[in-house]
Symmetry: C2
């Protein structure tokens, strides 16, 4: 039996979508049990069956607007902090939250704790790609404002093991996000990272990619410093959001005939929306911690919560975290 600690109060639609998603996951995987941290009264409003689901009542909540590190330190009885503590104390094997990303990073690093050989944990979402449903894992997208080449090397290894275990890709293609595809591109950090990655055993490094190719499916894992990764991710999200909203506007606010045409093309446009739907990939993983800590989108629905449990379940079954550990230990020994 494996146990997942759930921050039931994070996100826009908590605790409803969380309770619904967790119940569905509980019915699907019989060797999983859950502890929901949150407002017991509210949780019970939605919980139909408490089989393998325990509730720990909490009366504090970390808000999306809270300053992350301060929130973790001052709101010691919040659902997020208590869930993280249960992982630290080995009462749970992994943690799931839809809450404040910065606070979850802080909870992961300061409470759950990082793997000794990983200098800096990285945040890794799965982005959609045009040619595969497996998407691309990008790390780091913002857990760290500064990076060293050795961090990027560690992230490449962890991302590659993840893509192997969870996306079941035999030899995941690992690329470096850079300002050109040629091998000599980049600032000193990215040049050094390129050389390190080229000489890293056990990963399939395919060279540099530029950010206009992130969604084109040219790699399975893309490593980047957190500052650039954050900018590329947000530019991608911002452009997609603006374009899709302008598309909706164009179709619905241009009179009767356009609306009629829109109704005709709607089923086909759904495929466009589906391409950008990565809910089946689960959430963003904070890699480099002693246990899986996964952040689902604040606007996630029950389906996404379900798939995020699936993702965590896969990491637990495959012992993905410990594989990274072992790799890093072997690296140390070789030195």
């Amino acid at each position: 039996m494996m146990k997942i600690a759930v921050d039931a109060m994070g996100g826009d639609n908590a605790p409803q979508v969380i309770v619904e998603g967790i119940e569905k996951a509980r019915d699907e995987w019989t060797d999983l049990e859950f502890v929901l941290y949150g407002d017991e009264t509210k949780i019970k409003e939605y919980l139909k069956d408490d089989k393998r689901i325990k509730i720990v009542n909490t009366d504090e909540e970390i808000l999306g607007t809270d300053e992350p590190v301060k929130a973790i330190r001052s709101k010691k009885n919040s659902s997020m902090v208590l869930a993280a503590k249960s992982v630290k104390n080995k009462e749970a094997d992994a943690m799931l939250s839809l809450g404040n990303t910065g606070a979850l990073l802080a909870a992961g690093i300061f409470i759950v704790g990082r793997i000794k050989q990983v200098s800096r944990p990285a945040l890794m979402p799965t982005l959609p790609v045009t040619n595969s449903s497996l998407g691309v894992n990008v790390l780091d997208v913002g857990a760290n404002a500064e990076a060293k080449a050795t961090y990027l090397q560690q992230w490449a290894i962890m991302g590659s093991i993840y893509a192997h275990d969870i996306k079941q890709i035999e030899e995941p293609r690992v690329a470096l996000l850079n300002n050109g595809t040629e091998s000599d591109k980049g600032d000193p950090l990215h040049k050094e990272a390129y050389d390190l990655l080229k000489n890293t055993e056990g990963i399939n490094f395919i060279g540099n990619v530029e950010s206009n190719d992130i969604l084109a499916g040219v790699a399975d894992v893309i490593v980047t410093d957190g500052f650039t990764g954050n900018a590329a991710l947000k530019a991608t999200e911002g452009t997609a959001t603006i374009l899709l909203s302008q598309l909706k506007n164009a179709l619905l606010n241009n009179g009767f005939f356009t609306k009629m045409g829109a109704a005709i093309v709607a089923p086909s446009l759904k495929s466009l929306k589906d391409m950008f739907d990565t809910s089946k990939a689960g959430g963003a993983v904070l890699l480099g911690l002693k246990s899986p800590v996964v952040k689902a989108h604040g606007a996630a629905d029950a389906k996404t919560v379900f798939y995020t449990v699936k993702q965590i379940y896969g990491m637990l079954l495959n012992d993905t975290i410990n594989k990274s550990n072992k790799y890093f230990e072997q690296m140390e020994e070789k030195k």
Copy 2:
């Protein structure tokens, strides 16, 4: 009479679209004359009237695949190098090219030459925004892989003067691209840049923006280091390209009824395409040089060439370059 040196051989549709765009511009502004550098035979195929248009025959061409600095040094008789030299020698007041961006940067820096007080020239395109036809100027998007806070300050000043002169915005809103909107966000470079910008006289600094807001029209000028700017720009372009191509696919490859619906919604979708059409803004300016050097997109059409001339004309009429010069000289004196 002002003279613009034109590299007539750069870009995907050279020299046709260049000749057509230049002729249109020549008819529009009677105080402009042009020197077209390129294959005289090919240029003459398209040139209808040589009034105020001189041709200088060249037999070398810098290709899109050429290594920039090497190309500039070895292809001394190329249309791009000769056009740049004519600006350096004051035979022309400005330069326009649709060719290899890296090579044009090198030609601008090594041949035309930079303003003494500008440490590093920056490449500045105009990106579309949802709420204004004026778009947003972003710099640097890739002329420099590395940056210092003082560079960003210089770029902010030049970008602001440009937005004032060419977009006719009284007090252009200048923002810093960062990994969060709060004033304490960023790595050391961006924190230092924030403090510098906050205390820079003569610009209207409005704080940090994140890259998901670039297209939202929250600022008139956004400054960023070239590595991050490059990643954000390419992620924006890549996402827009992929989404629009998937949209086209969805509408045209889903059977007869969808195609019929697509025909109905087509006029409305044009507004979507128009939003992302920045051809009226001209090309990307290499700011920080002694004379205007502007790069239009390799796939630009005659209309874009025309508007790029308009953009250069505006910079010449307003003496935009010298305004930056004067600003920097006054800054020096105050020290």
